[in-house]
């Protein structure tokens, strides 16, 4: 049965390994083991800046964590879900999650419709293409802090937008109106990010087969028909990406409510979860509560992403 000697002498195996030399070694370490050294700084960076803080955030959210002097050792008892209970029963936090929901309901569909529409128009042979592409991208590359200044000037109670609207101007004005503050912030962010999404769609449009358009034309499909039946399904993977990226960006909203509506005003109507996370976690010195908000936000975004992928990307499989 057992033809081999009962014990395989270990030294022999090692000898064979050494005999094959670099071949065997490279089977374990790869042909260019120096690669490990090349990626080490980057891996250390990813571990220190992303992986460790991620675990640390979850840890803090389950403990009574507070700021101490560097090096001080203090007891930080495990408190279970206490921080989560604090967060979930906090009306300001509840409000902020509703707010970001309103934001996404406006921002995401508007982004998809406008960026696909503009990308489709840009994709035709048209004069001034480069000019258009550049002008749509400019808000995306400009700092939000800078652009917020102009929007404040434009949407002020006696700003240019209201002067143009005349008697149609809302009262109280856009950013100080509790019903309009969040939609105005959503509009601002849509405008600011649109150029990036237009470029994504422009790239996706290059992959839609020309034959399909010709076939549609042969079948007598008009412009609108071929847009709905060829273009829209053709760029579906890009739409999934646009929806997901817009959702994640929207969930991270901070600068705009902080500056545009003076810290999430009026009366918390435009406060975002990240803004509340900053106020609780850093301003009020409760990093444990802040972390709990962050963890809940990420869980919410992940759930939403799964739903969106199902809903938008359903024909991908």
């Amino acid at each position: 049965m057992n033809r081999r000697p009962p014990t395989v002498p270990k030294p022999a195996r090692n000898a064979r390994l050494t005999a094959r030399g670099p071949g065997a070694l490279s089977a374990v370490l790869g042909k260019q083991p120096i690669g490990t050294a090349f990626v080490t700084p980057y891996v250390v960076f990813l571990a220190a800046i992303f992986a460790y803080p991620l675990g640390f955030a979850v840890y803090m959210s389950f403990h009574d964590y507070f700021f101490t002097a560097p090096g001080a050792t203090v007891d930080r008892p495990f408190v279970g879900f206490a921080n989560y209970v604090t967060v979930l029963t906090d009306p300001a936090v509840q409000r902020s999650f509703v707010n970001v929901g309103i934001f996404l309901l406006i921002n995401v569909p508007l982004t998809v419709v406008l960026s696909l529409g503009l990308a489709n128009a840009l994709n035709a042979a048209i004069r001034w293409r480069t000019f258009f592409r550049v002008s749509y991208y400019v808000p995306y590359v400009a700092a939000s802090v800078a652009v917020v200044g102009v929007w404040l000037f434009l949407f002020n109670s006696n700003g240019l937008v209201n002067s143009v609207l005349g008697p149609l101007a809302p009262d109280p004005s856009w950013l100080v109106n509790s019903k309009l503050a969040m939609p105005t912030v959503a509009l601002y962010v849509t405008w600011k990010q649109l150029g990036f999404f237009i470029l994504l769609y422009l790239a996706a449009l290059q992959n839609v087969s020309k034959d399909l358009y010709e076939a549609a034309a042969v079948d007598g499909a008009g412009r609108l028909n071929s847009f709905l039946n060829v273009t829209v399904p053709g760029v579906r993977p890009a739409t999934t990406l646009v929806v997901l990226v817009a959702t994640v960006t929207g969930a991270n909203l901070f600068t705009e409510p902080y500056l545009l509506t003076g810290g999430g005003g009026p009366d918390g109507a435009s406060a975002s979860p990240v803004l509340i996370m900053y106020q609780r976690g850093i301003e009020q010195g409760k990093p444990d509560v802040g972390s709990a908000i962050g963890v809940l936000l990420v869980i919410g975004v992940l759930l939403l992403a799964v739903v969106e992928r199902r809903f938008v990307g359903k024909e991908e499989q």
Binding site: G30, Q32, P33, I34, G35, T36, F38, V39, Y42, V43, F45, L46, I49, F50, A51, Y52, P53, L54, F56, A57, M60, T68, P70, L118, R127, W128, T130, F132, V134, Y137, V138, V141, A142, A143, A146, V147, G149, V150, W151, F153, L160, S163, W191, L194, L199, L202, A203, R223, A238, V248, N252, G263, M277, Y278, I282, P287, S291, G294, L297, V298
Partner: protein, 278 residues
């Protein structure tokens, strides 16, 4: 003939779009030059009697533009340097070297993109400010952005496109990997380096939340932070708050927008490559 008319409609729609996208920037410039803020429709056109450069002096007096720009420059420069140095090494290894754990590192790199940075701000704040005492320091400002993953991805894509024979020949000649990278691969992917620098530039230059959290001393704040402080606190007391604010906004926006316009072709092709093929 049939095609001409709908394209005319498209052209007008695109023109209207361009107006919506560009007007605020034009208005930013006009507003920064007005002696008295004029929010009426007439104010959208430059009127010779209402022009001044005084707003730029005012914002400079309030937040020290030179110092703020220097801080923005050091912050951005540090991130670019880190990305070029370590990002090129990582991108090259991921594209061209076979070593144990390569696919794990690449997987980790993609996975990390999903984590929203904002969730990490609280733990990073605790670590960098409280544990390491790096508040109000350039190092603390740069650390979380030190290597731009998208740039690493771009570098990798470019290195992948180089022909394998090049590397085989150099290895047969006994060149070390560092030599191959430095003398053969890097000179061939110079455009990628420029793209990486441009992509990396807008991140820290425009970043607000992180430097805002860790810099309390005004003389260390990048322009985005000092300008926002002006917006939230000082502007109420200024003679022409909007004028000064918009002057600062122009100074902050101009470098990024100018770089983008000069190198727009590069920006656009990168977004296509990394956005879709990624």
């Amino acid at each position: 003939m049939r095609k001409l008319l709908p394209n005319q409609g498209r052209f007008i729609a695109l023109l209207a779009g361009a107006f919506v996208f560009l007007f605020p920037f034009y208005y930013m410039l006009i507003g920064s030059l007005q002696t008295e803020p004029d929010p009426s429709v007439k104010g959208a056109f430059p009127s010779p009697g209402n022009l001044t450069g005084h707003n730029y002096l005012e914002i400079d007096a309030a937040i020290n533009l030179g110092r703020s720009l220097l801080n923005s420059g050091i912050f951005t420069g540090g991130v670019i340097l880190g990305t070029l140095l370590f990002g090129v090494l990582a991108g090259y290894a991921l594209a061209r070297l076979q070593f144990r754990g390569r696919s794990a590192v690449f997987g980790l790199m993609l996975l990390i993109q999903v984590i929203p940075f904002q969730l990490l701000t609280i733990p990073l704040y605790v670590m960098i400010v409280r544990s390491y005492g790096l508040a109000d320091s350039y190092l603390g400002m740069i650390a979380p952005f030190a290597i731009n993953s998208i740039a690493v991805f771009v570098f990798r894509q470019y290195f992948l496109q180089l022909p394998q024979e090049l590397f085989d020949a150099a290895r047969v000649d006994g060149a070390t990997e560092l030599n191959i990278l430095w003398r053969i691969a890097v000179p061939l992917v110079r455009p990628a380096l420029l793209t990486g620098v441009l992509l990396t530039f807008i991140g820290p230059w425009n970043e607000f939340l992180w430097p805002f959290l860790i810099t309390k001393q005004q003389n260390l704040q990048p322009l985005a932070v000092s300008l926002s402080n002006y917006l939230t606190t000082v502007s109420a007391r200024a003679a022409n708050p909007f004028g000064a604010l918009l002057a600062g906004a122009c100074v902050l926006a101009v470098p990024a927008v100018t770089l983008f316009i000069i190198f727009q072709r590069r920006f656009i092709s990168t977004s296509l490559d990394s956005g879709i093929k990624g």
